[in-house]
């Protein structure tokens, strides 16, 4: 088989391959490292962090849906300081790029977290804007271009040399408007998609399965939505894209890249098969080789639209 250069450059962060794992589905990597060396991955988006530790939402926090799941974990996490003290030292010993994922209640909180992470040794900061803005009646930051831009500016101001990637919400009318606002505000990259809001009801008890009533949909069911959004965003902004949403196999990852993603994250698929990200990496290499590419990066943006 022809040798394929699997390395990619995501906003200055060079990864040995384009396969990353999605925030919240992989913890901080320890559990999966019992199955295989997580250095096999290009990078790891860590569990979403908040300024202070959070307990998360009451259970049930998950419901299975056709080809997907709904979750309402509610950002249970040890807080940014707990992450830096207890998880980061272990992760830094692995040969894998570390992407911290942060959520805040106010733009200032995002700034404080970026400040703390700026000299901690993480390779990138992914900013989750699918959180309620407590100052604006709980409206999600990621649904209003001006609010997303404000968070982006705060993050950039305090992140030092660490690249900032804004994670876009799919729960919007026009994702390109948000992407443009984020690029104009100085973001180094965007990742998408976060989960799509959904609901499931037990017909007999008439209760929603999730204790929070609604939750976020992920898994293979969302793949076509994600590919479409990556394509639209790629046609709008110049900054690189980390594509995710429903990627379970190499062909899915190749679709993401053809649509315009520089790298791809695997999330929910890890629940069905802990080895999924490794299989996606191997399969992606095989696809690139079969197509005679010398670099996997040649897939990026290679779709031939009608």
């Amino acid at each position: 088989m022809k040798h394929v250069d699997m390395s990619v450059n995501l906003a200055g962060m060079v990864m040995k391959n384009p396969v990353v794992v999605a925030s919240g589905t992989y913890g901080f990597g320890r559990e999966f490292n019992e199955f295989y060396d997580i250095s096999a991955l290009g990078g790891i988006c860590c569990k979403g962090l908040t300024l202070h530790p959070r307990e998360g939402n009451p259970p049930p926090r998950i419901a299975e849906t056709p080809s997907g799941i709904l979750n309402s974990v509610g950002l249970q996490n040890p807080g940014v300081d707990g992450f830096i003290a207890h998880e980061l030292p272990w992760l830094r010993q692995r040969d894998v790029k570390i992407i911290a994922n942060i959520s805040g209640n106010t733009p200032e909180e995002y700034g404080i977290m970026c400040e703390k992470l700026s000299d901690s040794g993480v390779d990138m900061i992914e900013v989750n804007v699918s959180c309620p803005n407590v100052k604006c009646g709980g409206l999600q930051y990621g649904t209003v271009p001006a609010m997303t831009a404000e968070v982006t500016e705060q993050a950039k101001k305090h992140a030092g040399n660490v690249p900032v990637m804004i994670k876009l919400s799919p729960n919007v009318t026009d994702i390109t408007a948000i992407a443009r606002a984020v690029e104009d505000a100085g973001a180094d990259a965007v990742s998408l998609i976060n989960t799509i809001r959904g609901m499931r009801i037990d017909v007999n008890t008439r209760r929603p399965i999730l204790h929070m009533n609604t939750g976020g949909l992920s898994g293979p069911a969302v793949l076509p939505v994600a590919v479409r959004m990556v394509w639209e965003v790629a046609n709008t902004v110049k900054i690189p894209i980390l594509g995710m949403g429903g990627v379970a196999k190499a062909e899915d990852a190749a679709q993401m890249m053809l649509a315009g993603a520089t790298a791809v994250a695997v999330g929910t698929a890890c629940f069905a098969d802990p080895f999924a990200p490794v299989k996606v990496r191997d399969g992606l290499e095989a696809i690139a080789a079969a197509q005679g590419l010398s670099r996997v990066g040649e897939l990026t943006g290679g779709v031939r639209p009608w």
Binding site: E31, P58, F271
Partner: protein, 250 residues
């Protein structure tokens, strides 16, 4: 250390109208299995999430699971036949820790009975069992307890077999009769676990219970399977499924 194994079905058996037993060739996974731990089984391509099932028995390279066909996943599992292959992750979770001395009383309610078999068999100081079922037709694993020389008391909700009522009455009976029992292990529906805990507490005997919660990853990474223990959300798949009943926020 959890592992992923493709396990061959050695024997498939129907125990009652809706309860099935599978004996699996599980190699190192079976050898590593401890009482109270579970496995996470992929139930066909159509079901994205694996289904958590307790380890009922483990001997050498073979592993036994006993489960109720309830929804789509477990119904698929019930159709497996000898020679089929299953994708299994395990052994998972923190199981039962035996007391330093004395006997354990293992208590199972309905489909909570299976894990109590291995818990009883492995008890270094011996075990006695109390099991509760809906009615006579729902009884499972009684011969297996007998074969393992574990004395069993039975209760049924309608009195068609054994004591007419709930298992906590049997727990009180045992703890009154036998002062060498130094721990109670229980698995079953939450209200039953609570009543068993209440009974054990009356006698000052420590009680450990196996909790259930819907899972995502099953290995402690996604924080989906939260259960409130000691005022904090702990995770059934990794911190549990077995918790000290004293610490559970009932």
């Amino acid at each position: 250390m959890p592992m992923q194994n493709i396990c061959r079905v050695l024997q498939a058996e129907q125990l009652t109208a809706d309860v099935f037993s599978l004996l699996l060739e599980a190699g190192a996974l079976a050898r590593a299995a401890k009482p109270g731990q579970f496995v996470n089984i992929k139930c066909g391509e159509g079901n994205l999430l694996r289904r958590p099932i307790s380890i009922c028995d483990a001997e050498g390279d073979t592993l036994r699971v006993v489960f109720q066909a309830k929804g789509e996943g477990t119904r698929w599992l019930a159709q497996r036949r000898s020679g089929d292959e299953l994708d299994v992750l395990g052994p998972l979770g923190h199981g039962y820790d035996y007391p330093e001395t004395g006997k354990v009383l293992v208590v199972g309610g309905g489909i909570g009975v299976p894990p109590m078999l291995l818990a009883g068999k492995r008890a270094p100081g011996g075990a006695v069992a109390a099991v509760g079922f809906r009615d006579q037709s729902a009884c499972i694993l009684l011969e297996d307890f007998e074969e393992a020389n574990i004395p069993v008391k039975i209760a049924s909700d309608n009195g068609t077999v054994g004591h007419h009522g709930f298992v906590d009455a049997l727990v009180r009976e045992y703890l009154t009769e036998d002062k060498t029992i130094s721990a109670v292990f229980a698995c079953g529906p939450r209200p039953m676990l609570k009543s068993v805990f209440t009974a054990a507490k009356e006698f000052g005997v420590p009680c450990f219970v196996s909790m259930e919660e819907r899972m995502g990853c099953g290995i402690g990474a996604c924080l989906v399977c939260a259960c409130s223990v000691g005022g904090h959300y702990r995770h059934v798949c990794k911190d549990g499924p077995v918790f000290n009943a004293e610490e559970v926020d009932w």
